[in-house]
Amino acid sequence: MNAPTPNPVTANGQPHLGNVIEAKGLTKRYGETIAVNDITFNVGAGEIFGLLGPNGAGKTTTILMLLGLSDISAGQARVFGHDPMRDPLSVKRRVGYLPDTVGFYDNLSAADNLHYTARLMGMAREERFRKIAAALNRVGLSEVANKKVGAFSRGMRQRLGLAEIVMKDARIAILDEPTNGLDPQASLELLELIRGFKADGISVVISSHLLDRVQSICDRVALFNAGRIALLGTVGELGRQVLGGGYAVEVEADGGVNLAKRLSALPGVRHVSEPAAGRFRIVCDSDLRAEAAGEVVAGGGRLTQLSLDRPSLETIYTRYFQTAQSPNQDASREVPHAA
């Protein structure tokens, strides 16, 4: 049969070097309804790529098509140059998948659950014991390795799912709603583990409807809406594209002359507004806090407050769909999901 190729990136079919996932015109139809409609995106090596959008926007379907777990109705997908339809085993050998609310066999211990999947991967006994111990250690589950999974909390199950990906030596981790239903502490820990994947050179595809939670770790995001990718790029790019600027700096000052004009003159400033007397909101392309502070002082003002609003995905998303949907009065159909 076809043995695992030692270096997946140079495997047959050779994609554009650096892209581990390429989707072109990917479409999924269920009868009349179109779940995923002609989407195109690439995921680069070592990148954290976010599939974001409301529930039912087609994120999970896209993931299942990439894994070869669901038929592709039209278009094509390549994962390390392999076609998930024709050669699913080669894809699944290199890709670790953490499903939405992952399940384990409750009657087996954490380690035994991993042993089962490790045997399905065809791992030898020695290797299995070594890798499982290391993986459980990495996600912080060593102490409960021999406890039955039935007693695990949701966060522990998610971490066990990540341990499975670690054990597999996956080159791509596809995580479907990994922080869904976790308390803030557990989800922060989980996101930390996911950052660790990137540090190891693993590409990560992460789907979520919790925009703000996930934007902090994503290099690039694709915003899904009703089966299409509405926006694609880095959070900064999307911010510029939709909000007209990447950063918003807020300045409060006492006194000073012509501060608004001075601030507007700074390079990279797109817009300055003064919502209240002595309070300025500067929309700009980069972080201009230092320059703004300098201008306030130079203008003779006393700087009382200085803060930076990073562009929030939620703002971008909400704004985008407000503008996209305002012409037709059909806005009730797809309300952007406020997480």
Partner: protein, 316 residues
């Protein structure tokens, strides 16, 4: 799973792993405890009843040992009748949540994202179920034979053992039909309770109601048919039920005097020695269509489940 174009890699990669895991699940499960107790109790009850009856009536029977399997004493049914109930129940018990259980535990998509095909998962589950059933049935069979040896004090002859072995194999094939059916419904129904109820309902229907209904349906289909045609049609209809097929093959195998499982014309009996036993091979030939029917039934049902599973979406 892709339906167009060819796939690469073996469909059976991981089959052994799945089978062993399912087998160990079965053995560790509470169902298995119940099964073990059923096996012991059924063996005791059947042998006790049969021995009492054999002691009371038997004079000289060349196949005394086989009577252990077929003799009933009121109110207990015979061992074969016990099996006719026990085997479907066991098989349904092992198979009704095979696939939907994985769905509901949300393990299915995680397992299928490992480098195996769906084929391996389904087939592994079927093999594990068959192995569990076979082990239980062999244990039960040995128990009955052992108890028979002790209580009857007569060792079985070679042909008797051969017939008893064929009986065991046919019983396992019968178990395969119900296991495949239970697994088919475990694919098509998302709720295990629904799957179990539907399978049990179907079992009751084909075992109790269908044989009784068959003559009426034959009558309705052929209002002007002569009696022989009606009987043959009714029999053909009732043979759609695996329970009928099983009962008929057991009859031919354990009662060596059985010459035919259908109606016999007087002309065919000319020169026959009534009541004289057939050799084992000829008895097998009499039951052969039924045996093949059972095996074919399990294959068809398994393929049905397989196709349904391949087309199923894995997402919850």
């Amino acid at each position: 799973m892709p339906r167009n174009g060819s796939r690469e890699g073996s469909a059976f990669h991981g089959l052994g792993v799945v089978t062993l895991k399912e087998l160990s699940d079965h053995f560790a499960s509470a169902r298995m405890r119940v099964l073990e107790w059923l096996v012991v109790l059924v063996a005791l009850a059947a042998v006790y009843g049969a021995i009492q009856q054999i002691r009371a009536v038997t004079a000289e029977d060349p196949f005394l040992f086989l009577r252990l399997f077929t003799t009933a004493r009121e109110p207990l049914p015979s061992f074969t009748a016990f099996l006719g109930f026990l085997v479907p129940l066991m098989a349904i018990g092992l198979g009704f949540d095979a696939v939907n259980g994985e769905h509901n535990r949300r393990t299915l998509s995680r397992i299928l994202s490992q480098p195996i095909y769906r084929d391996a998962l389904l087939f592994g589950k079927f093999l594990a179920g068959m192995a569990t059933m076979s082990i239980s049935l062999v244990a039960l069979w040995l128990l009955v034979i052992g108890l028979g040896l002790i209580t009857l004090g007569v060792p079985p002859g070679g042909e008797e053992m051969g017939r008893a072995l064929c009986f065991l194999l046919v019983t396992i094939a019968y178990a395969g039909v119900w296991l495949a059916l239970a697994m088919l419904f475990s694919v098509t129904f998302r709720s295990p309770a629904t799957a179990a109820l539907v399978t049990l309902g179907l079992w009751l229907f084909v075992t109790l109601i269908w044989p009784a209904l068959a003559p009426a349906i034959a009558q309705a289909l052929l209002p002007n048919g002569d009696e022989a045609t009606l009987v043959i049609t009714a029999q053909a209809l009732s043979r759609l039920s695996p329970s009928t097929l099983y009962a008929e093959s057991v009859l031919a195998i354990l009662h060596p005097a059985t010459r035919s499982l259908g109606p016999v014309y007087v002309s065919q009996l000319q020169g026959a020695l009534m009541g004289s036993p057939l050799p084992l091979w000829d008895s097998l030939m009499v039951a052969w269509p039924q045996i093949v029917g059972l095996i074919a039934g399990s294959i068809i049902l398994f393929v049905g489940g397989y196709v349904a599973f391949q087309r199923q979406e894995v997402r919850a």
